[in-house]
Symmetry: C2
Subunit: 174 residues, 2 copies
DNA sequence: ACGATAACTGACCGATCGGACAGTTCTGTC
DNA sequence: GACAGAACTGTCCGATCGGTCAGTTATCGT
């Protein structure tokens, strides 16, 4: 039941935003009462927090995987990791895209700026030949964000498109 | 007075989203009563619509300027136009970033998907050597969107960074 | 000075929101 | 079948929202 709620919530939040989705909307989608939601979750924010819990862990893992790497190897691993996460957490990314600054008061929610900063920090001085260009990483973040826009392309095609696009952005040969 | 209201509104909408900004918030920022806002504008939506009026016109102008062009010239003009607009309408872009799908019922508001589609349509078959790559244009849209995230960089530096980044994304030499 | 009109406001309304809570139903154990 | 606890619900509440409206104040041409 918790899984059903989370499933409906992530879909509705991604479609209409956090503020644009009421508890009643989720309850109707699940097929239960609003009060039932608040039995399984302490409040509306708790639903949101739980949706983003795995992302924080995965991002930490990605940063750790990047830590020992350097140079072009680090850049390629970063691209692959970001593309992979953006595809697997598409709805969550879309929620961030919709509500990015409206929920800064949620301490356990990933902040897009923090994510970007962490990525840039993790790669400063490691990308070959040139310092990481601001626009390049912004474009990579753009890919990360716009992936969520629901382009109707098979995931594998999308993956290679995104990867080669990001490589090109960062001046790497694909 | 109308100008003061629009000025506060675009700033608050960009900071907290359309739904996250109440009429009282705007009124407090302006320094007048909520009822005064609704004297100058028929409703909250009308404020939003007026904020986006110039963008639609400018985008039409951009598309017309692209129409007679082709090949690399078209791509470069598109990049320059998008970068220019994203810098000049930074707050409006950020509002779209925050509320992109939550306001599909606003007929006179630019839809990010439409903007992307128009740009891609305007350039399909015109970019040299290769078809426009999905990821490349998604990244360009990403730049367009993430420009609004308020990176503290002078506009001229930003402009050249964004332009060279977009060129790299599209496989053009800068 | 005065009347007309624009500009503005306080008070109020209906709707909706997140959330609280007492009470009911379901489910499994002995 | 009796009991316990989990699962669930209907109903209510305070707060807040967008919007209305009668009434007040400021502005300006004459």
């Amino acid at each position: 039941m918790r899984a059903d709620i989370l499933d409906s919530a992530v879909r509705l939040f991604a479609a209409h935003g956090f503020r644009g989705t009421s508890l009643q909307d989720i309850a109707s989608d699940v097929g239960c009462s609003k009060a039932s939601l608040l039995y399984h979750f302490t409040n509306k924010d708790a639903i949101l927090s739980e949706l983003f819990a795995p992302i924080g862990q995965e991002f930490e893992t990605l940063l750790q995987r990047l830590a020992p790497l350097s140079g072009e190897e680090a850049a390629r691993a970063a691209v692959a990791g970001v593309v992979d996460m953006s595809l697997r957490f598409r709805n969550q990314v879309k929620i961030l895209l919709l509500d990015v600054d409206t929920m800064l008061d949620h301490p356990d929610l990933p902040c897009v700026d923090d994510v970007t900063e962490s990525l840039v920090d993790a790669l400063v001085g490691r990308v070959p030949e040139q310092e990481p260009r601001v626009a390049g990483w912004m474009a990579l973040l753009g890919i990360f964000l716009t992936t969520a826009r629901g382009v109707s392309i098979p995931d594998e095609t999308m993956r290679s498109e995104l990867t080669s696009g990001a490589f090109r952005t960062l001046g790497l040969s694909s």
